[in-house]
Amino acid sequence: MPENFESFIQQHRGAFEEPGPSPRVWDALERELEGGRKGSVVSMLGKNWFKAAVIAVLLVNAAVLFYFAKHKQQQQQDLAVVIPEMQDAKVYYSNRINEKLELINAYPAEELGLDSAARQELQLRNDTYKTLENELKNNPGNQRIRGAMIRYYQLKLELLDKILEELHEKHAAPTTHTKKQYEAEI
């Protein structure tokens, strides 16, 4: 019985199928999946860097608060005097942090993609900062609190630097003025 092209294909559909792929496909796939699992955190950071950055801030804050809860009983009431080095550090870091925040805030909110809570968390004087500041006032000579405060400043600076770098790479700079400022920064 004569057949036309389409009906021939339909009637012999199975004969057009070849055996499956060689085992090398699964082997390569498995290696890729294993590698992908190891690199999944890095990959996640790459794709969702901003969310990851905010999460990092929250984690740092949580870690600092935990640190205080754990070591509070060890704290000694030191002399209630202002330590000059801490005052200098506060001025130095606050200025640098505020400069970077100014650059970040110059970007439109839609480019930042952060809600108000996340933006608040990026600010210098967030809840963690205030807690540290109070602790420092009450225990000005306590080495642990001073160390935690400095570390807080440093981590915040590192995070803001990272955010600025990413913003610079991904978006056009907001204004000529701030672009120049940013370029001077890096």
Binding site: E3, F16, E18, G20, P21, S22, V25, W26, L29, R37
Partner: protein, 188 residues
């Protein structure tokens, strides 16, 4: 095992394989791969035309399946979902090789009015060989329509060309296959 994507029966998979895949279970993913690899490989082979490219494309497609399986909402549609990923990978790889689908219209196929199909014999090997010899654009349209059973509209959307172009290319591809098979009949 030979299995076409259209005949794939999802009962080959345990009910919870997809759930386990979503939880990152590599053994479950292996089960999923085993169930679909042959059918999807055949799609790749038809689309790319050679074993090496077909295997590479299959691997890339399954990496994407693995990455995105968490987004699969309706498990009943897993076959169509995987097949679409595979086909899209094939088309993307063809585009990377600078295959411009819209240009295949320009390939001349001399139409032989009323080829008498009764006068020659269709064989699987002759048809396979004829399809393999088609220009890439014709072959893509013909494979997607005839073997993967996508509609002209779906093919047009996937390839980024108009539906009428798809129809024209399909008709010409069919004509070309007829001519090649007829010539093979004459040679024998």
């Amino acid at each position: 095992m030979k299995a076409s994507a259209n005949n794939l029966n999802q009962t080959q998979l345990d009910g919870n394989v997809i759930d386990r895949c979503k939880r990152g279970d590599v053994r479950a993913f292996r089960e999923l791969y085993n169930a679909y690899a042959a059918a999807m490989y055949n799609i790749c082979l038809r689309m790319t035309g050679n074993v090496s490219d077909a295997e590479d494309t299959l691997q890339e497609a399954f990496i994407q399946v693995h990455r995105n399986i968490g987004k699969l909402e309706r498990e009943a549609s897993v076959t169509a979902w995987i097949k679409r990923i595979v086909v899209n990978h094939c088309l993307n790889n063809l585009r990377k090789k600078k295959v411009y689908f819209e240009e295949v219209e320009e390939v001349e196929v001399a139409e032989e009015a009323g080829i008498d199909e009764d006068s020659f014999t269709w064989t699987v090997s002759a048809v396979k060989s004829a399809i393999h010899g088609l220009p890439q654009g014709y072959r893509t349209v013909l494979n997607l329509y005839l073997f993967e059973e996508y509609s002209h509209r779906e093919i047009a959307d996937m390839m980024g060309i108009t539906e009428s172009t798809v129809k024209t290319q399909y008709m010409r591809a069919k004509e070309k296959v007829r001519q090649i098979v007829k010539q093979q009949n004459l040679i024998r």
